[in-house]
Symmetry: C2
Subunit: 273 residues, 2 copies
């Protein structure tokens, strides 16, 4: 999907919500456990109930790998279902990969070509030749970790490197990579003020913002500091939406939570426009 | 496996060789492609021919994910074969994972418990709470990326953070993590002098050293600068061994290449002892 198609979808739906499909068999409604593929059954119900309220879905691969071959099958079925039935949805493989060039290329092929995701999250530690193999795919995005929303972000990311915090150095250096127009960035919402600093370096790039809701970030301040003229934000919510209910009404409950966020977003977009 | 069991194995075999099982269907002997599971057939033959010369095997997960569910099955079969038939071998999932705590725990369970690997490689960018969930597993090792062997390592890893290169800061900070005795580190061999600097910070930790052979590092200088009193090195070779021949003699050819490295290691160990 092109960036413009994503922007168009945001305008049509008045939403920049991304729903994290982080499915834990210990947390889904027990009645689903008798299904042949409980993870896919859960995802399908969530997608069917929320696709008109969100613009993106983001399965975190850890939750699928945790169930081995069966988990990988659930991931394949989920992305195939999305691409066949809701091709307008933007899809993110939250995989946080990154390896030497040769090997990053294998990951890129797996997520972009074989599975058919629109984007994949990538860790920056190994630098240019670990990121560029992802960037070389046309109409696919590489979402680089810049500033994450966890406590450990302060171990290295906010430490000064040559007089500038590491996450800013990552933003600046990545702009010099080949096909850098295909970059987006993960920027956590735990301290919204950071978003203003991020915007000084990447004024128009899309930012994937986790940590609104369960991790404590606040939507309004994220938008205040992080929104670009083209919106430029994907706000992710996982547990707050998908585990809104543990009963047979889980999909409707998820839709209610997604609708709450979408309406807040619509208000912000109307105000901004 | 405990660190002491690994050290014992190194002494018995007079080898600290790790063989990277990075299987690419475009590179394996064509006659294997008619097998039901060509990747596993290749790995099994390589393992049977080389297990007495090496102490560790390291599949890089990218090469398995690239083949989707089938690839994941090949990975499961490979680690199950190793654990059943060669339980003395140290096993490394070269996965370079790392996510927020909750999610890292899912990865740790997948690789340590479900698949049964002895260790997994982890990227440090997300800090403490992304690494500690791996460290909490008893008799399992977390191999943290410190200084990698690719060109992109100079983008961030060797940049100074608070007056000290980032990779040194990663080494020092990680020593403060809970259960840090379960840490090993990836340190590339492209500049062996770096190993001397690494040893000043982690004098006895095991280092997994890629880049000897195909990536240009030299075994003798790696040992000169990097060996600890307990050896403390796992030298990885992938392509140089497993693709030594593209014919029906591929396993024997791999054994010849592995034997060459093992003999160099034996000489170094005799000299050091």
């Amino acid at each position: 999907m092109t960036t413009q198609e994503l922007i168009n979808q945001i305008k049509v739906k008045k939403s920049f919500l991304c729903i994290g499909l982080d499915v834990d068999l210990n947390k889904i409604p027990p009645h689903l456990l008798s299904e042949e593929d409980p993870i896919f059954a859960f995802n399908k119900a969530i997608i069917d109930a929320t696709h008109h309220l969100a613009v993106a879905y983001k399965p975190n691969t850890a939750f699928y790998e945790a169930y081995g071959v069966k988990g990988w099958e659930s991931l394949e079925k989920t992305i195939a279902y999305l691409n066949a039935n809701h091709p307008e949805m933007y899809t993110i493989a939250d995989a946080k990969r990154g390896d030497i060039g040769n090997t990053s290329k294998m990951y890129a092929q797996a997520f972009f070509e074989d599975l058919g995701f629109d984007s994949v999250t990538v860790a920056p530690y190994m630098g240019k030749d670990s990121v560029e193999p992802f960037l070389s795919f046309k109409n696919k995005h590489t979402i680089l970790l810049a500033l994450t929303s966890n406590a450990g972000a302060f171990d290295f990311q906010t430490q000064e490197i040559n007089g500038k915090e590491l996450y800013k150095q990552v933003l600046e250096t990545s702009k010099t990579y080949e096909n850098s127009e295909n970059l987006m960035y993960v920027v956590g919402a735990t301290k919204a003020e950071f978003l203003a600093e991020v915007r000084q370096i990447v004024p128009s790039s899309f930012l994937l913002v986790p940590g609104v809701g369960a991790q404590g970030g606040d939507l309004k301040s994220v938008c205040k500091y992080g929104m670009s003229p083209n919106v430029g934000l994907l706000i992710n919510s996982s547990r707050g939406i998908i585990y809104a209910s543990n009963n047979t009404d889980f999909a409707q409950a998820a839709a209610i939570k997604a609708k709450e966020l979408q309406q807040q977003m619509e208000e912000i977009l109307n105000h901004a426009g």
